[in-house]
């Protein structure tokens, strides 16, 4: 809402400068978003919240200024006085019938017939004022209706009377398929949900939104029908949305127009039409006014202390209320019955009045206090688990990312059947079509983006919700690895390269599951071949429950993401299945008191023998003294026969009761080697 300093001063005296006034208004809840000096005036722009339609008028703002500064509002009464004298000067032959189809749609409709207007350019003062608030000057009649709209917050409409047929105005719902061309020149098809103003035959305006082109006031207009009315807010809102229209009028009607302002505004317009355009009012008609129910709200003044925390004297409370246009009756020393003026539809309960008191008293004068917080027993919840998981992952050198939950339909291809994903009914763009059922497409895109930025090595993770068609949402963990990095371990070992692979994913998950206490044998995680060659599934609960998958991106997805000469490795884990299995407290063993003995074995094995089989075989034969089997070298190439691989594994033997002798370890270790040779076809190198 824009208004000017001088325009405001027509209605309230103030010695405050424009800048000081802007500060006062902002701190009273009318946030001034800009203040500009233009010519001899200042243009204010304020943000008007949707609960205060009364601030969509200069008079409404003047009331507020009067309340803040302790002044009285002036000028507005002039029009009200005129209303009582509001009789047409000469009796005439004109007849006009007003038919309101449904009183609920239109609580009040008034029309004035003004004859012999001279349509032309507006006087300078009028044109300049409108232009200062960003309203284009059209002609004197239209400008007067706009001037009254901004001043009173009451939208008016002027029709060319001689175009209207049948001496009647009908406020009714449009009929199905009825058409109108509005002032903006667009033909519109109407329906029963849209309220129109019609003459005997056709709609001549979309009620409260925009007039029709054929009945608009032009230079040829001689006689005018001036409409001032109140329409049902929801109906106006629906109508203007259905037609894709928005106007200063609809903006006010859908927020609520003050019934009490209709007559003063339209009589003031009549006066200006007479003064500026030379017209005279020959007929004034109105539909029956709805019965006024005076509204009162009971206020306990001691609530300012109990609810606001401020000591405000009862006398101060009364003066604040009066200043804002509320009336009050004292019911007891502390209790007031407060009368609500018609321009304050937002005030319905006592807290609304407490806000008014606090606002004018000044929020800044209310003290700052601290409440007593009653402690609660904290529980370990999902959120704490996620925080723990994130900390473990960053500790492993992974970077957290946050990607959008909404993705383009096409990006699901190769990851997830799109018909099983939730679609958004009203996306603004194709990037917002679906709620993602998997994190993998977004992580792949994040990898692709960073590759474009020439990142040599990417190791990222995200924990976010994924969504199912039934509206269920679950936290998933996604991890992505890509690229090669050279690591610096100092001059002693300067040539270390780290090339991302599927085992990087496994390593991260091994550490994570171990830290979360998902331990052998029941919960330990297993990695099993998945559906495709490039996929592995992650299983827990003795391999009976699949909790996630590891994947190497197939060529067609790499092509789609424009990733060249790189492999991308992804993991996704359903945290909804993991978090309930977290063991917060798990057994910790004391370190061995007696030193262990390590024996390395270098083997050559057929390619198909997995490390799992080898370590299983070693464990079976190493018995209880075997503490740990570690992979320490891997080799393929010219020193190993084709179809074979070379491995070195370290076996740690240790006892909790005594120092082992070489001899007993040798015996066991010899059995281990024998088993590897006989059962797995290994040769010792």
């Amino acid at each position: 809402m824009k208004f000017t300093y001088n325009w405001l001063k027509d209605f309230v005296e103030t010695k405050l400068t424009a800048g000081q006034l802007a500060g006062k208004l902002t701190m009273a809840g009318l946030e001034v978003t800009s203040l500009e000096e233009k010519g001899k005036d200042f243009v204010f722009e304020i943000e008007v919240t949707s609960n205060r339609p009364d601030w969509l008028s200069v008079i409404g703002i003047a009331r507020e200024v009067a309340a803040i500064t302790g002044k009285k509002i002036k000028g507005a009464t002039r029009a009200v006085n005129r209303q009582s004298a509001g009789k047409c000067k000469k009796p005439c032959e004109d007849t006009l019938a007003i038919q309101v189809e449904n009183k609920k749609d239109c609580p009040l409709y008034t029309a004035k017939v003004i004859r012999n207007v001279e349509v032309g350019p507006s006087p300078d003062w009028l044109r300049e004022r409108l232009e200062l608030v960003g309203c284009r000057s059209v002609n004197n009649v239209v400008d007067i209706t706009n001037y009254i709209l901004f001043t009173f917050g009451e939208p008016l409409h002027a029709f060319d009377l001689d175009i209207l047929k049948g001496d009647m105005i009908c406020v009714r719902r449009a009929r199905s398929k009825e058409k109108i061309t509005t002032i903006d020149g667009e033909p519109k098809e109407l329906n029963e949900n849209i309220l129109v103003i019609a003459d005997r035959d056709n709609p001549v305006a979309v009620a409260g939104v925009m007039g029709g082109r054929n009945s608009e006031v032009t230079e040829k207009t001689k006689n005018v029908l001036l409409e001032a009315a109140v329409f049902e807010p929801v109906l106006i809102r629906r109508g203007r949305r259905a037609l894709g229209l928005q106007s200063e009028s609809s903006y006010r009607f859908e927020r609520g127009v003050d019934l009490e302002m209709v007559e003063p505004a339209s009589w003031e317009a009549e006066r200006l039409l007479q003064d500026i355009c030379g017209g005279s009012c020959v007929l004034a008609k109105a539909s029956t006014r709805p019965k006024k129910k005076p509204r009162t709200v009971a206020l306990d003044t001691s609530d300012t202390k109990k609810f606001l925390g401020a000591d405000i004297a009862v006398s101060k409370i009364k003066s604040i209320l009066s200043g804002l246009g509320f009336s009050w009756k004292a019911k007891s020393a502390k209790r007031l019955s407060v009368g609500i003026p018609s321009h304050r539809p937002d005030v319905a309960v006592a807290v609304d009045l407490l806000e008014e008191i606090a606002r004018i008293y000044g929020y800044e004068k209310i003290p700052n206090t601290l409440p007593a917080v009653k402690p609660r027993v904290p529980e370990f919840q999902e959120r704490d688990a996620i925080r723990l998981i994130k900390n473990i992952l960053v500790g492993l050198g992974l970077q957290e990312v946050i990607t959008y939950s909404l993705i383009e339909r096409g990006r699901l291809k190769g990851f997830f059947p799109e018909q099983e994903a939730v679609a958004i009914a009203n996306p603004l763009s194709s990037e917002q079509e679906m709620l993602r059922p998997t994190l993998m497409p977004s992580l792949s895109a994040a990898v692709a983006y960073n590759l474009q930025q020439k990142a040599p090595y990417i190791s990222i993770f995200e924990i976010a919700k994924v969504y199912q068609v039934n509206g269920k949402e679950t936290y998933h963990l996604g991890i992505a690895f890509c690229g090669t990095r050279s690591l610096w371990f100092g001059p002693q070992s300067p040539h270390a390269n780290d090339q991302a692979g599927i085992l990087h994913l496994r390593g991260v998950l091994d550490v994570l599951f171990q830290r979360l206490g998902l331990l052998a044998p029941a919960e330990a995680c297993h990695f099993a071949q998945g559906q495709g060659l490039d996929e592995y599934s992650v299983q827990v609960q003795k391999k009976t429950m699949t909790v996630g998958m590891l994947k190497r991106l197939p060529g067609e997805i790499l092509d789609r993401l424009d990733i060249k000469h790189r492999e991308v490795f992804l993991a996704e884990v359903d945290l909804g299945k993991i978090i309930p299995r977290i063991q917060k407290i798990r057994p910790i063993r004391p370190p061995a008191r007696y030193p262990g003995i390590t024996r390395d074995i270098s083997l050559s094995l057929p390619q198909g023998i997995t490390f799992e089989k080898i370590s299983q075989e070693i464990s079976n034969n190493g018995k209880e003294l075997l503490q740990e089997v570690k992979m320490s070298d891997y080799y393929t190439g010219k020193h190993i026969s084709a179809g074979h691989k070379g491995l070195t594994v370290s076996c740690l033997y240790c006892s909790a009761e005594r120092t082992l002798t070489d001899a007993e370890v040798n015996t066991i270790h010899a059995q281990v080697i024998k088993a590897l040779q006989e059962k797995l076809g290994a040769t010792i190198r």
Partner: protein
């Protein structure tokens, strides 16, 4: 060479050593590249096949023993380690360390803010992102067809069921959820993602993060809201910032207030970040509207409470001097690694 004899020689030799230099000479003698152990190892292939294994193990055991003795002696000589004779390495070379991962800046800000409120006794709750129209609007005193909904443009889900589901456009539905399931006293913060169909530009994103906070009990006052949020703002932005509480309107609070802090860039003089106003808006707040208590089934007039909500991206942008919200979701590692 006799392993048994060597065993004894080594023990007495090390016992007699009195300086680190002597110890190092001894190490060279036994463990050096051309030392005794290397010599023994080299002799293994020349042995008869059946002796090789046992001999190798003996040599290995001896090597470990010598190592252990040398390390023990080093400690008794009062030194941690014997460095190479040529002295320390070039200290100006890059240090050796793993590159750390980092939490996303949004996660960091959420954790910081949650911690501040948890220290004041608030509990953390998370609600779902897919919400009902009731929890997102009606339960919060936002009528379905009302201009107050205009600021809450909302994504709806395509759905066969008759209940319209949406992506929450603010974290406030959590108020309804928590209050429906628990009785006061309540002190809760709710961090999470929210969604609004906005065209993406430097200051708008269709997905962003908010933290909702609220406190409900029998005697919660507007002055408590002021006090708690002052503690919060000073903890995040520093003790010296100035604050102001401005009347505003939210359908679910009455009275409502927007909170500004003095601009952390210009200190209140006016700059491009604060739009020459000297103030930065950081959050919206107010006393929970009686209609919300009514919706969740609390007895009329029994409880009062305050609520507030703030945008995490906005706080992060102010804190780190970032002027484009898209950076948070682009996930450029060169950006993220700085936090």
């Amino acid at each position: 060479m006799d392993i048994e004899a060597l065993n004894k020689d080594v023990e007495s030799a090390i016992r007699q050593v009195n300086s680190l230099q002597e110890l190092d000479e001894l190490r060279q003698k036994y463990l050096g590249r051309k030392g005794i152990i290397a010599e023994l190892t080299g002799s293994i292939p020349g042995l008869p096949k059946e002796q090789r294994g046992a001999f190798g193990q003996q040599v290995n055991a001896l090597k470990q023993k010598i190592n252990a003795l040398i390390i023990g002696k080093q400690q008794s000589l009062g030194q941690a380690a014997v460095g190479p004779a040529e002295g320390l390495q070039d200290i100006t070379m890059p240090g050796v360390a793993c590159e750390p991962g980092k939490l996303h800046p949004i996660t960091q800000v959420i954790q910081e803010i949650c911690t501040i409120f948890m220290n004041m006794g608030f509990a953390v709750f998370e609600g779902p992102e897919i919400e009902t129209e009731y929890n997102n609007f009606t339960g919060l005193n936002i009528p379905l067809e009302h201009p107050s909904r205009d600021v809450f443009d909302t994504f709806y889900l395509e759905s066969q069921s008759k209940d319209r589901l949406l992506l929450r456009s603010h974290t406030s539905p959590a108020q309804v959820r928590v209050m429906k399931s628990s009785k006061p006293p309540l002190a809760v913060v709710v961090p999470g993602k929210v969604y609004r169909p906005d065209a993406v530009d430097a200051s708008h994103s269709f997905m962003f993060h908010q933290i909702e906070g609220f406190m409900v009990d029998e005697e919660i006052k507007f002055s408590d809201l002021k006090g708690v949020l002052e503690v919060f703002a000073k903890a995040v932005f520093g003790k010296d910032i100035k604050m102001r509480f401005r009347p505003h309107f939210f359908p679910f609070t009455e009275p409502s207030a927007e909170i500004d802090i003095s601009c952390i860039i210009c200190g209140g003089k006016g700059c491009s970040v604060c739009g020459r106003k000297g103030w930065l808006e950081i959050l919206g707040s107010g006393m929970i509207h009686p209609n919300v208590f009514k919706q969740v089934g609390y007895p009329a007039g029994k409880y009062t409470g305050f609520a507030f909500g703030l945008g995490i991206e906005r706080i992060a942008m102010l804190k780190y001097g970032i002027n484009d919200i898209r950076l948070f979701f682009e996930n450029d590692l060169r950006f993220l690694k700085q936090f």
